[in-house]
Amino acid sequence: MLEIKNLQATIDGKEILKGIDLVIPDGEVHAIMGPNGSGKSTLSYVLAGRDGYQVTGGSAHYRGQDLLALNTEERARLGVFLAFQYPVEIPGVTGINFLKTAVNAVRRSRGESELDAMQFLKLARKKAKELGVGEEMLRRAVNTGFSGGEKKRYEALQMALLEPSLLILDETDSGLDIDALKVVSEGVVALRSPKRAMLVITHYQRILDYIIPDRVHVLAGGKIVQSGSKELAQELERTGYAQFTGQAA
C-alpha cells in the first residue's frame, strides 16, 4: 500500500505540490489525470526520489516504509518503478548491459541469485517478444535514437523485467500507436496482481479502457481536486479541466 499524506514539494523554491493526499492499496490501480503543468510528473519524481525536488511537508510511505528517507536506488530495489514520461538516452550503454545490471542489482537486494548472461538474455528475449520490442533494440544503446513510441515500449519492457510492486506510469500511452498501446497495456495488465499497486498518469481515457482503474483522481494546481470511479475519466474527456483550473488558480 502506498500512503501519501499532505505531500508538499518545491523545485528551485517554486511550490509545485501543495498537499497531496493519496492512498493506493495493494492490488489497486489508480489513475491521475490533470492539466499540463499541474504537478503529475513532479509527484512521480518525488516518489522516485529525484534530486532537486525538495519535500517541504507531508509524508509518503510504501509498505510501511518511509519512502522519503530512502535514496533513489533503495526505493527502486524496494519495488518502486517509474515509467518515465521522457525516457533518458544513455549513449554507449547497450540495453542488454543496462538491464542486466539493473535486474541483478534488484535481485541482489532481494537476496536472490544474480542471473548470468545466458539466463538474462533468455528472459529479456522472451519479455521483449511479448511487448513487441525488436531484439535488435536490446543491442542498441539505451533509448538512444529510439522513436517516441519505441521509448515507451522500452519502458514497459524494463518494467516487465524488473517486476516491481509499485508501478508509476507517467504518460506511458503518449506516443504509442494504436496497436502498441494495446500491447503495452496488456503488458501492464499482466503485471496486475493483488500484491501490486499502480499509479497511471495519463491525459487520455483510452489507456484506461485496457487498464481499468479502481479510482481516478484529478490533479490540478498541485492538489488532488477530485476523485471518483473510472467513469470520472470519461466525464473529463467531455468536460475538460476548465472547472478545476478556475478553482485552483
Partner: protein, 481 residues
C-alpha cells in the same frame, strides 16, 4: 652554428674518463645522476662500449636540454639529483625458473592481482616481469624460441643479440628526441626486447608487468619490438604500483619497428598510483612511445587505457613510412581528483596511401584536467593519405576540465582528413534514470563510462578488456555525489 651547439658536440663526443667512484658490487647506485652513474649502470650490465658511448652522448646532451613546457601540466620542479638510478633485486644471478624467484616478489605480484605463474599458464601469456629495474623471471621462452621469436629483457638482448639491438635501438626514438627520451637513453636500466622473424605469427600475447618498487627509484624502461616481414605480434603492457607519498618519475621509451606486411599491436593498461584525493603523491609519467611502419603495408596499432599517475605525458605515435601502411591509436584516459593527463598521438604520413585512425576518449572527474593533443602530418609524398580522428570527452561534475588540441598539417592536396570531436557530461537525468532502475550511483557511472569507452576497450585482448573495465570503475570511485 653557434658556440653553444659546438660545445654540445664536443661534449657529446668525449669519452668517459673519470673512472669508477661507485662500488660496482653495490646493489644500489648512490642517489643522483652524473657520468659516473651512467657508466655504473652500463658496467653493471656488462654492456659493450658502443652502448656506453651512446648513453654518455645522451647524458651530455641532456645536460643542455630543458624540460618541455608545452603540455597542459603543472607540477613542482623535479629534482633529478634526488633519485636513485639503479637498484637491483637481491638475487645476484638471474633465476632460471619461477622456483628460483624470490617468494617475496611473487607475493607482491599476488597482492597486485598478478599471479604470475597462474596467469602465465592459464592465459597462455608469456610474462617478462620487470621488477624494479632488472628482469627476474621470463617464462614461455621455450615455446617462443621454437618459432624463433626472441622475447627477453633488454639487457639480455644486448648481450645475446647485439647486432639487432645496435641496428634498431634509437632508430625510431633517437637519443636526442626529447628531454625525457634523452634522459632515458642515458640511464635506462631494462625493459623488454622482442623480435619476430619473417612470416611468424606470434602464438601468444606477450606481456610485461612493470612495477615500481624501491622508494625513490626513477623508472627508465626501454622497450624495443621488431616485427620482421609478414610477421605479427601483440604485446601487452600493464602496470600497477603501491600507495606512495612521494612523487616518482617514470620516463620510459618504447620503440616499434614494423617491416613489410608486418603488424604490431601494442596495448597498455596503466594504473600507477595517481596521488591521493588531495593531489598528494603519485607517479609522474613522461613516456615516449613511437612506432615506425617502415615496410610497405605494415601496420601498428596502439591501444592505451590510462587511469593512473598524477601526471601523464604521453603520445604514442606512428611514422607511416611504407606505402599503404596503417597506424592506429585508441586511447582512454581517465583523470580523477587532481590528476593531469596530456596525451594523444602523432601520425606522420610519409608514404603513399597511408592511413591512420585516432579514437580518443577522455574522461575527467573531480578537479582533474584531461587534454588530448594530437598531430596529423601529411608530407608531400604521401599521396592519398587518409586520417580519421575522433576525440570524445566526458565530464563528470563541473570542476574538471577537458581540452582538445588537434594539429593538422597537410602538405599534399590529395589527403583526406576528417576530424570529429564531442564533449558530453554525465547528466543528472542519466544518473537518476539508472538509479531509478536500481543501479547505485557508482554502478551507473561505471556503466556509462564503460559505454563511452567501448570502442577503445574492444581493441584490447579479451582478459585485458575485462581488467580494464574494472579499473575504470575503480578509478572513478567517489567521483560523483
Amino acid at each position: 652554428m653557434s658556440d653553444g651547439m659546438d660545445q654540445v658536440r664536443t661534449l657529446a663526443d668525449q669519452k668517459y674518463k673519470y673512472g669508477f667512484v661507485t662500488d660496482i658490487e653495490a646493489d644500489v647506485a648512490p642517489k643522483g645522476l652524473n657520468e659516473d652513474i651512467v657508466a655504473f649502470i652500463s658496467a653493471k650490465k656488462g654492456e659493450p662500449d658502443w652502448l656506453l658511448a651512446w648513453r654518455l652522448k645522451a647524458y651530455r646532451l641532456w645536460l643542455t636540454q630543458s624540460e618541455p613546457t608545452w603540455g597542459r601540466l603543472h607540477h613542482a620542479p623535479i629534482d633529478y639529483q634526488d633519485s636513485y638510478y639503479y637498484s637491483a633485486p637481491k638475487r645476484k644471478d638471474g633465476p632460471k625458473s619461477l622456483d628460483e624467484v624470490d617468494p617475496k616478489l611473487l607475493e607482491t605480484y599476488e597482492k597486485l592481482g598478478v599471479p604470475l605463474h597462474e596467469r602465465a599458464i592459464l592465459a597462455g601469456v608469456a610474462v617478462d616481469a620487470v621488477f624494479d629495474s632488472v628482469s627476474v623471471a621470463t617464462t614461455y621462452k621455450g615455446k617462443l624460441e621454437e618459432m624463433g621469436v626472441i622475447f627477453t629483457s633488454m639487457s639480455e638482448a644486448v648481450a645475446k643479440h647485439p647486432e639487432l639491438v645496435r641496428k634498431y635501438l634509437g632508430s625510431v626514438v633517437p637519443y636526442a628526441d626529447n628531454y625525457f627520451a634523452t634522459l632515458n637513453s642515458a640511464v635506462f636500466t631494462d625493459g623488454s626486447f622482442v623480435y619476430v622473424p619473417p612470416g611468424v605469427r606470434c602464438p601468444m600475447e606477450l606481456s610485461t608487468y612493470f612495477r615500481i618498487n624501491a622508494q625513490n627509484t626513477g623508472q627508465f624502461e626501454r622497450t624495443l619490438i621488431i616485427a620482421d616481414r609478414g610477421s605479427y605480434v601483440s604485446y601487452l603492457e600493464g602496470c600497477t604500483a603501491p600507495m606512495r607519498d612521494e612523487n616518482q618519475l617514470h620516463a620510459a621509451v618504447v620503440e616499434l619497428v614494423a617491416l613489410d606486411d608486418a603488424e604490431i599491436k601494442y596495448s597498455t593498461v596503466q594504473n600507477w598510483y595517481p596521488g591521493d584525493e588531495n593531489g598528494k603523491g603519485g607517479i609522474y609519467n613522461f613516456v615516449t612511445k613511437r612506432g615506425a611502419c617502415r615496410g610497405r603495408a605494415s601496420r601498428i596499432s596502439w591501444t592505451q587505457v590510462e587511469t593512473g599517475s598524477a601526471i601523464t605525458w604521453k603520445y604514442p605515435s606512428c611514422i607511416l613510412q611504407g606505402d599503404d601502411s596503417v597506424g592506429e591509436f585508441y586511447s582512454v584516459a581517465i583523470t580523477n581528483n587532481y590528476q593531469q593527463a596530456d596525451t594523444g598521438t602523432k601520425m606522420i604520413h610519409l608514404g603513399r596511401n597511408t592511413r591512420s585512425r585516432i579514437v580518443s576518449k577522455g574522461v575527467s572527474a573531480g578537479h582533474a584536467d584531461n587534454t588530448y593533443r594530437g598531430l596529423v602530418r601529411i608530407m608531400p609524398k604521401a599521396e592519398r593519405a587518409r586520417n580519421h580522428t575522433q576525440c570524445d570527452s566526458l565530464l563528470i561534475g563541473d570542476q574538471c576540465g577537458a581540452h582538445t588540441t588537434p594539429y593538422i598539417e597537410s602538405r599534399n592536396p590529395t589527403a583526406r582528413l576528417e576530424h570529429e570531436a564531442t564533449t558530453s557530461k554525465i547528466s543528472e537525468d542519466q544518473l537518476f534514470y539508472a538509479r531509478q532502475r536500481g543501479l547505485s550511483q557508482e554502478e551507473a557511472v561505471a556503466l556509462i563510462v564503460n559505454g563511452f569507452c567501448r570502442e577503445v576497450l574492444q581493441q584490447l585482448p579479451m582478459e585485458f578488456a575485462v581488467e580494464a573495465q574494472k579499473l575504470l570503475a575503480i578509478s572513478l570511485e567517489g567521483s560523483v555525489g
